[in-house]
């Protein structure tokens, strides 16, 4: 079975984002970019499936600017076997919407015929939480979202999902799309020898046009602004003072 893992290049989660003064978006020039943290977990899970003998090939795919090849190299260094880069934008500030990403991924799935797609539950830049579900709709496949446990057994997979009420376990028919949550596993670091080896692993380069997908956005970004700042607070010296302040503020 092949495993397909879509990985997104996003601003590193430790970077404090800055909104551009003209309100046109977030400043992404010269900031540290990394693999979306959820996607690292998806790559890790795919590699573990291979190590457990349940998968024989792990393919990472990224859609975006050319620089996304760095993200794919990271996936290869972690242990993915090969990568597909789909160039769909030239400017680092162009983001491709989940619907368009899902349409491209659907074509990649058609070509590669994976038994499972492991995606992140959300990308930490746009927090849309949509791509996996959309892909599964386009393919008519089953979906297991927000997975904190995954157990593949032949034609079905058991997926334990993190939901508002706690945990829900469902059984999905394979092939399936599974989107991963933070507690599924702890991703490994790529070792230096593996980083060197990754440079020799195959990376195919395509464009959105190769797949005949129109990536014109459906949502126009009208403006981007800073959230309202909170008024500065005060430090209190003791529990007594805290209780007094809370009573004054009518909070207790």
């Amino acid at each position: 079975m092949k495993v397909l893992v879509p990985v997104k290049r996003v601003i590193d989660y430790n970077v404090k984002v800055r909104v551009k003064a003209d309100g046109s978006g977030v400043d992404l020039a010269n900031v540290k970019m990394s693999m979306n943290p959820f996607d690292e977990i998806a790559v890790e899970e795919a590699i573990r499936l291979k190590e457990a003998g349940k998968a024989d090939e792990v393919i990472a795919v990224s859609i975006g600017v050319k620089q996304a090849q760095e993200t794919l190299r990271t996936a290869l260094a972690m242990g993915a076997d090969r990568a597909i880069l789909v160039v769909a934008a030239e400017d680092v500030h162009t983001d491709i919407e989940p619907l368009a990403v899902a349409k491209i991924l659907a074509k990649v799935v058609e070509e590669e015929q994976p038994g499972i797609v492991l995606a992140g539950k959300q990308a930490i830049d746009n927090d849309m939480n949509a791509t996996g579900q959309m892909l599964s709709a386009l393919l008519g496949w089953s979906q297991g979202t927000f997975a904190s446990e995954l157990d593949i057994d032949g034609d079905t997979a058991k997926v334990t999902r993190e939901v508002d009420g706690g945990l829900q376990t469902i059984s999905v028919k394979m092939p399936a799309i599974v989107t991963v949550d933070l507690r599924l596993n702890e991703p490994r670091y790529a070792s230096l020898p593996n980083i060197m080896k990754a440079k020799k692993k195959p990376m195919a380069e395509k464009t959105a046009a190769d797949y005949g997908v129109d990536t014109t956005p459906r949502l126009e970004v009208v403006s981007t602004s800073e959230p309202a700042a909170r008024a500065a607070g005060i430090m209190v010296g003791s529990v007594d003072e805290l209780v007094e302040k809370l009573k004054e503020a009518g909070a207790v």
């Binding site: 579900q133 979906q143 008024a231 430090m235």
Partner: protein, 309 residues
């Protein structure tokens, strides 16, 4: 313009708060029809009919809709979509599971976690863990939207919508429910509680998390946790507050032994009053706190519990 709103129904019961908040947001878009779907949903539908601002309720009862599996629920919504320009829901994990599937089947984008309605096609939503607010304008003929409940007030009662029963769509039969693990609790629900007391890694153990729970019970509060506390096994996953957990905006949020990473702040910084207790005076949580106390939580929390009692 007509709006179809997917009510939050769990095991036959309506999540009134989440649904009523979404009704407030949806009412700005047009005439609101609520869809109550489930293995049993009639009672939930009857309750939704009383929410002010709801004009019609559709009740769909079918075993396939029992556990809000994405595929049959999405199929049902798509079968109804023709009559509506907006298809909306509160931004719960159920809705986030279902709505993007609906949107893709309709060939439109989904707009997640909307915090404000500018007009029928223009919406505000937070991005980058709430560090920026984006205004987006949709060019799609249908808009599929989830509303972040923390930013809307719940619609009141006094409505008297008509209730109709409808059938389910064909179940694609792609997935089956196995089990739920839900801890029963007498505490208020995290996303609708007036007071939330949260503990972080600083609490140190599941055992000591009882301190947090004790203070919460004194205040009639819900209990929250940081990701680090959940990952370490001190607290269950459904208590996690933050970018990838729940977003809360209570009147009072007390953060104990939590450093204040942006991913945590994303879930609580719109709370009215924020209290932080941390032994490190440099902890970033103090930057968003209205009242900060530099103290060891193991002495401060018992004292606070006692003095608030």
């Amino acid at each position: 313009m007509a709006v179809l709103l997917l009510a939050e129904v769990t095991d036959g019961a309506l999540a009134l708060d989440a649904t009523a908040k979404a009704v407030t947001a949806a009412a700005a878009l047009g005439d609101v029809t609520v869809l109550a779907a489930g293995a049993s949903a009639a009672a939930a539908g009857a309750e939704a009919a009383k929410i002010a601002g709801v004009s019609r309720v559709l009740v769909a009862e079918d075993p396939s809709l029992g556990h809000r599996l994405a595929e049959p629920t999405a199929a049902l919504i798509v079968s109804l979509a023709g009559d509506y320009e907006h298809i909306v829901a509160p931004a719960t994990t159920d809705a986030k599971n279902v709505l993007p599937r609906v949107a893709a089947l309709l060939d439109v984008m989904v707009i997640s976690d909307v915090t404000a309605v500018v007009d029928g096609s223009t919406f505000e939503r937070p991005i980058y863990a709430g560090n920026a607010i984006q205004t987006v304008k949709s060019s799609d003929t249908k808009k599929v939207i989830s509303f972040r409940t923390a930013t809307f007030d719940a619609a009141g009662d006094g409505g008297s919508a008509t209730v109709e029963t409808i059938g389910a769509a064909e179940n694609p039969g792609l997935s089956e429910w196995v089990e739920d693990k839900v801890a029963a609790s007498d505490r208020p629900e995290l996303t609708s509680a007036g007071v939330v007391v949260s503990g972080g890694r600083g609490v140190g153990s599941e055992e000591d998390f009882k301190l947090i729970e004790g203070l919460a019970d004194k205040l009639g509060a819900a209990v929250g946790a940081s990701r680090a506390a959940v990952d370490s096994g001190y607290a269950p996953n459904d208590w996690q507050v933050g970018q990838t957990g729940k977003v809360v905006a209570p009147d009072l949020y007390i953060a104990i032994g939590i450093s204040g990473a942006i991913q945590h702040l994303a879930g609580m910084k719109d709370s009215k009053v924020i209290v932080a207790i941390n032994k490190d005076e440099e902890a970033p949580i103090f930057q968003v706190a209205d009242f900060g106390l530099v103290a060891d939580l193991f002495t401060a929390v018992p004292e606070l519990s006692e003095k608030l009692g």
